[in-house]
Symmetry: C2
Subunit: 205 residues, 2 copies
Amino acid sequence: MKILEERIREEGLILSDTVLKVDSFLNHQVDTELALQIGQEFKMIFGHLPVTKVLTVEASGIQFAMAAGIALKVPFIYAKKKKAITQSEDVYSAPVHSFTRQEHYRISISQKYLGPGDKVLIVDDFLATGAALVGLADIVEESGAELLGVGCVIEKSFQEGRSLLEKRGIPVHALARIASMAPGEIHFIDNTADIEEMIKESAGC
Amino acid sequence: MKILEERIREEGLILSDTVLKVDSFLNHQVDTELALQIGQEFKMIFGHLPVTKVLTVEASGIQFAMAAGIALKVPFIYAKKKKAITQSEDVYSAPVHSFTRQEHYRISISQKYLGPGDKVLIVDDFLATGAALVGLADIVEESGAELLGVGCVIEKSFQEGRSLLEKRGIPVHALARIASMAPGEIHFIDNTADIEEMIKESAGC
């Protein structure tokens, strides 16, 4: 997504070869117009699939799950993060280890809102180590719903998240794929061809 | 907002005379269509004011701040919650005491995204004790921005949040105002007249 890559080049703060801050327009202050365009892009990629619900995790996935839900005209669910080990009976939950923050937590969703018959698109802001996304995929599996794909806004392709998901047979698409970065420079993987392929498929070509 | 009151009657779970769960359509699973209508309602109420930014607090305010941002065509910012006492120098922050969860935390936003010249609308899902909203109002004040109003989706009018904000001269509007509730029954304050007055003002009548 060219417009997204441009914004990352212009406004992203690259603090190290693994840490990129995009909080001026994506995940602290949010450009609502861009968020809606991101939702439309997810629709172009996944719109040919019979998605019934979008799933994300609080907090920074919410704006993009909402944008995807708006574009696909379906509700979204955000999993809650809890430090507590206690596991309630009426939730699906999964443990997550955050490498960035070096902390363990559980993500959970109410069993009332996901089950067999649901077809799920998982959406999040970043795909990096994949920890939270694998947790969300576990929750979908536990619920008996079908996982149709994972859509992320930004992928750090040099980390293992994508391969963890693809190993499980989950289709993964990211709107901006970073090949490598370092303070002052950033290189994207050109995924225009992949996306165009998906869009053609989506259009029934 | 009649459609909202109806959904609360149909789907809200009243667990006690103070606890209302609306997580099937507002703050866990989110009806994106209704969220957009809520954004439009905020526009009808606050659209005559020169809002430059919408401000909320993670996580459950995000979908409504985004809806308001979409309707008003402005960006939104979500304050981060941290248990940590440590206060960084480059943020505006305020302490919050959650009565529901009996916990203290700080909310903060980057100083880069709010300052003199900004005109702010604060949006959140619930107005009850007002703790988080007063914290957000403190942050706006500290930043030198102007606070134009507070818009909440649901107000528990029997708690003190509104009076804490109005005492400071802040205009407060809630889309569904609960006068009282108990398991099996809920009573709303009819605020149609107030809202219509605001809409007329907004339309320049």
